[in-house]
């Protein structure tokens, strides 16, 4: 290997410890950890925003926060929980678990993976900087035009929102390309698509949805940003622009986004239930097929968010029918999960409890969802707390409980230690009770006419008791999260060591040490059936559970990388450099421009600096080899 002629300026990181090793890491497990920690910190941020909202609404005619701050709080709470908590927490599980579950040593593009994380982190910080730079976005998490135009939203808040979400979109797109390729291309030999664990299937569907839905919101955000910064006319009614176009673009992204949020949790639950029921997943093909159908049909329901816009009876009817139909594959999954537990030897540990809680809460959220699939009913419920109750039952009761289930389930694999069961169960029960106290009363609050997004309400409307209960429940939720944090700290500081396979589980990640070595698999596994690891341990069950006869597992000698040495991709700083450059370039659109003398052109100097830094990162990235000669 000759020296690279290109002046790379910075040498590759070599040490595997310390700050720089994290900035230069390309290891999917470390990147997964970074995603997880970041997402959890934002979970606390979004949670605190929610607590302030609940404190404000605990009693009538409260003036704890001003209406302006209240608007910022609910906007940032929604934006944070969707884009900075559930999506990156799912990405944390994709990063950690997809390569392990398919028997791979890393993702297809390790440096692109690092780029995704750093772009996500930079975008999230940029978005939250708005709190300190003139006020956070305040137009709601779906930012309806033309409220978001400069006329009605002066100041920089909404611009921060549009550009911040654009940056996060780039991160999501890069990650989605990576995972689609990883799952389609890098499965262990013998692992056909229908032998993949359900979590990997749901990761595949989710990432295809991301790859196709993100560009739509990107276009809408570009149009909004240009309207605000360059004074274009996309959503300007005075020039003939149509605010409803924003709603179409947003929800064409927004509804697939709902499944992007929930499918990873469904995948986790589909892994946890069989392990702790000691039974194979009931109807694996049906669960997989239902997930794929949800991913497909998710594109044909978006206008049910717009039933009250006045699109006409034909449009509303069509979307009402498609919305009712999409409940069918979801129901299929629920029956399969119940079927999995039916007659099983249930081990009701924390992870299993969270999965069972997921099923129960998701059914409630699903049923309230079907109730507003009908346009006349929806007209009563639109913009009331009934909607708030519904989507918290699917996103908190669904996605968050599912993600906690996965956290407790995979914690021993990720860290080599088990989370405490006593505190874990306390966490679960407090969270379940607190959750239902918070969001249950919102159903009748909504049906009693309480609109969402009001900073306060008059006394004597009959909403006081329900609001007080909801706020008390929110406090209970906060306590349950505190107990989780205590549990994590106690687990980390304990000296216990988890076994490689503490749950007697079914999938490949449990066949390797806990925590896994950097190369994951010393020998790439040969897969013969679904849940291959389980049937390697229990070959006598193969005939009964899968209907095929056990083959003698012959020891496989060959190593796909030959010679026994494993080449892992070397660390690199360039993804970090490219992320920083790109984010500066996009942030430069905030009109910090310099007038060029003699012309009427504004020079966006910050963007120019960002582009230079980004080009440097891109050049360095493409010039350095993936694996350094003599590397690790």
């Amino acid at each position: 290997m000759t020296t690279i002629a290109f002046p790379t300026l910075i040498s590759r990181p070599t040490s595997y410890t310390g700050l720089w090793s994290w900035i230069g890491t390309v290891d999917h497990k470390r990147i997964g950890t970074l995603y997880g920690i970041t997402a959890f910190l934002y979970f606390l941020v979004g949670g605190i925003e929610a607590l302030v909202i609940r404190a404000q609404l605990a009693q009538a005619e409260s003036d704890l926060v001003s209406p302006e701050v209240f608007n910022q709080l609910f906007t940032m709470h929604g934006t944070t929980m969707v884009f900075l908590v559930v999506m990156p927490m799912s990405a944390a599980f994709f990063n950690w678990m997809v390569p392990l579950l398919i028997g791979a040593r890393d993702v297809a593009f390790p440096r692109l993976n690092a780029f995704s994380y750093w772009t996500f982190l930079a975008g999230s910080i940029f978005l939250n900087l708005s709190f300190f730079l003139g006020g956070a976005p305040n137009a709601g998490w779906f930012g309806y035009a033309n409220l978001t135009g400069s006329t009605y939203s002066p100041g920089d808040g909404v611009t921060f929102w549009a550009l911040g979400l654009s940056i996060l979109g780039v991160a999501s797109l890069a990650a989605s390309f990576n995972f689609v390729v990883t799952i389609l291309n890098m499965r262990a030999p013998g692992m056909g698509l229908m032998k993949m664990p359900v979590f990997v299937w749901m990761a595949l569907v989710t990432n295809i949805l991301l790859a196709l839905a993100m560009p739509v919101i990107a276009v809408a955000l570009v149009q909004l940003s240009l309207d605000r910064v360059w004074d274009t006319n996309f959503f300007n009614p005075a020039a003939g622009g149509d605010p409803v176009l924003w709603q179409h673009l947003f929800w064409l992204f927004g509804h697939p986004e709902v499944y992007i949020l929930i499918l990873p949790a469904m995948g986790i639950v589909s892994e946890v239930l069989p392990v702790f029921s000691r039974k194979p997943l009931f109807g694996y093909p049906a669960v997989v097929f239902a997930g794929a159908v949800i991913g497909f049909m998710g594109w044909f329901v978006w206008s049910h968010h717009m039933f009250t816009v006045g699109l006409g009876p034909a449009t509303n009817s069509a979307f009402a029918i498609s919305t009712m139909l999409i409940a069918v594959p979801t129901g299929v999954k629920i029956f399969n999960w119940i079927g999995t537990t039916w007659g099983g030897k249930l081990n009701l540990n924390t992870s299993m409890l969270f999965s069972l809680g997921f099923i129960g809460m998701f059914i409630i959220g699903g049923l309230s969802g079907v109730s507003h699939a009908s346009p006349p009913t929806d007209a009563q419920q639109q913009d009331t707390y009934y909607i708030v109750a519904h989507f918290h039952y699917v996103l908190f009761g669904g996605a968050i409980l599912g993600l906690f289930s996965g956290g407790y389930y995979w914690w021993p694999k990720m860290t080599g230690k088990r989370l405490g069961e006593g505190l874990g169960k306390l966490h679960f029960w407090l969270m379940l009770i607190g959750f239902n106290l918070t969001f249950g009363p919102m159903h009748w609050l909504g049906l009693n006419g309480m609109p969402r997004r009001i900073a306060t309400y008059a006394d004597g409307l009959g909403w006081e008791m329900s609001n007080a209960i909801a706020s008390a429940g929110a406090l209970l939720l906060a306590i349950s999260v505190l107990i989780f944090i205590i549990n994590v700290i106690r687990t980390i500081s304990s000296t216990q060591e988890a076994e490689d396979d503490p749950w007697d589980a079914r999938t490949l990640e449990w066949s390797i040490p806990s925590p896994p070595p950097a190369y994951n698999f010393a020998r790439i596994p040969q897969v013969k059936s679904l849940d291959d690891f389980w049937y390697t341990k229990h070959p006598e069950l193969l005939h009964d559970e899968q209907g095929v006869d056990a083959e003698v597992h012959e020891p496989v000698e060959e190593d796909t990388h030959g010679g026994g040495s494993i080449h892992l991709p070397s660390m690199s700083y360039y993804p970090f450099v490219l992320s920083i450059g790109m984010v500066i370039a996009i942030a430069g659109f905030m009109q910090i421009n310099v007038e060029l003398p003699g012309t009427n052109i504004q020079f966006p100097w910050l963007s120019a600096i960002g582009i230079v830094i980004g080009m440097w990162g891109l050049m360095g990235w493409s010039m350095e080899p993936v694996t350094e000669e003599g590397g690790h």
Partner: protein, 220 residues
């Protein structure tokens, strides 16, 4: 093994993949699928706003079909040059490869030149991104397409640079194939844009519907 200015990250050999398609080629296909939705959304926006401008200039006052037909022809020919470049690279005829890669980049630049002149002409005729919906949607859609062409030209120049250094040979023809996939895609997108904006909408003007619409908005 300094390779061309392509973001290369795959660390597995082609034969190792489950699909038989190399990781980075599959990545390119997924990216192009994603980009379809990107352009699709902008084209949909253009179609939704067709005939919705309340003030001029209107398409029939500024669009110049003959000129744009020439630049469209140039872009189509660049795709032909791309095919030839890849063909000669796979046959290891490196001199011809070099010529055709540079030809693709040059034709791309000619197309961009036409676009710059077109934009400047329109601006001088009063059509800007602020002026009306037609200006907004036209400039942003064709502008993003031009940006894609520009990125493609940079990519191809990087290819040519790698070629001069001798690192682009038939063994690494997939490098050029990737650039080719991208280039052909951008070309196809232009065919759609040319059809939608120029061929279908060239006679759109201050029609009766438009006047009525303007009346409802301005006159109340």
């Amino acid at each position: 093994m300094a390779q061309a200015a392509v973001v290369q990250d795959s660390h597995d050999e082609i034969a190792d993949t489950n699909t038989g398609i190399s990781n980075r080629k599959l990545l390119m296909w997924v990216f192009l699928a994603s980009d379809c939705l990107f352009f699709g959304s902008f084209i949909a926006t253009y179609l939704v706003y067709r005939n919705e401008s309340v003030v001029g200039p209107y398409p029939n006052e500024v669009l110049d079909i003959p000129i744009t037909s020439v630049s469209t022809f140039v872009l189509l020919m660049s795709s032909l040059a791309m095919v030839l470049a890849l063909n000669y690279l796979q046959k290891d005829r490196l001199g011809l490869t070099r010529f055709w890669i540079l030809a693709v980049a040059a034709l791309g630049l000619v197309f961009l030149g036409f676009q710059v002149v077109e934009f400047m002409t329109f601006v001088s005729e009063g059509l800007t991104i602020h002026q009306n919906l037609f200006g907004t949607t036209f400039f942003i859609l064709t502008g993003f397409h031009g940006l894609h062409v520009f990125v493609g030209v940079l990519w191809l120049l990087g290819m040519a640079f790698a070629h001069f250094k001798g690192s682009l040979t038939s063994r690494s023809s997939e490098d050029l194939e990737m650039a080719g996939l991208y280039w052909h895609f951008v070309d196809i997108v232009w065919i759609v844009i040319f059809t939608v904006i120029y061929l279908i909408g060239f006679s759109d003007g201050e029609g009766i519907e438009t006047i009525e619409h303007a009346a409802t908005i301005i006159g109340g």
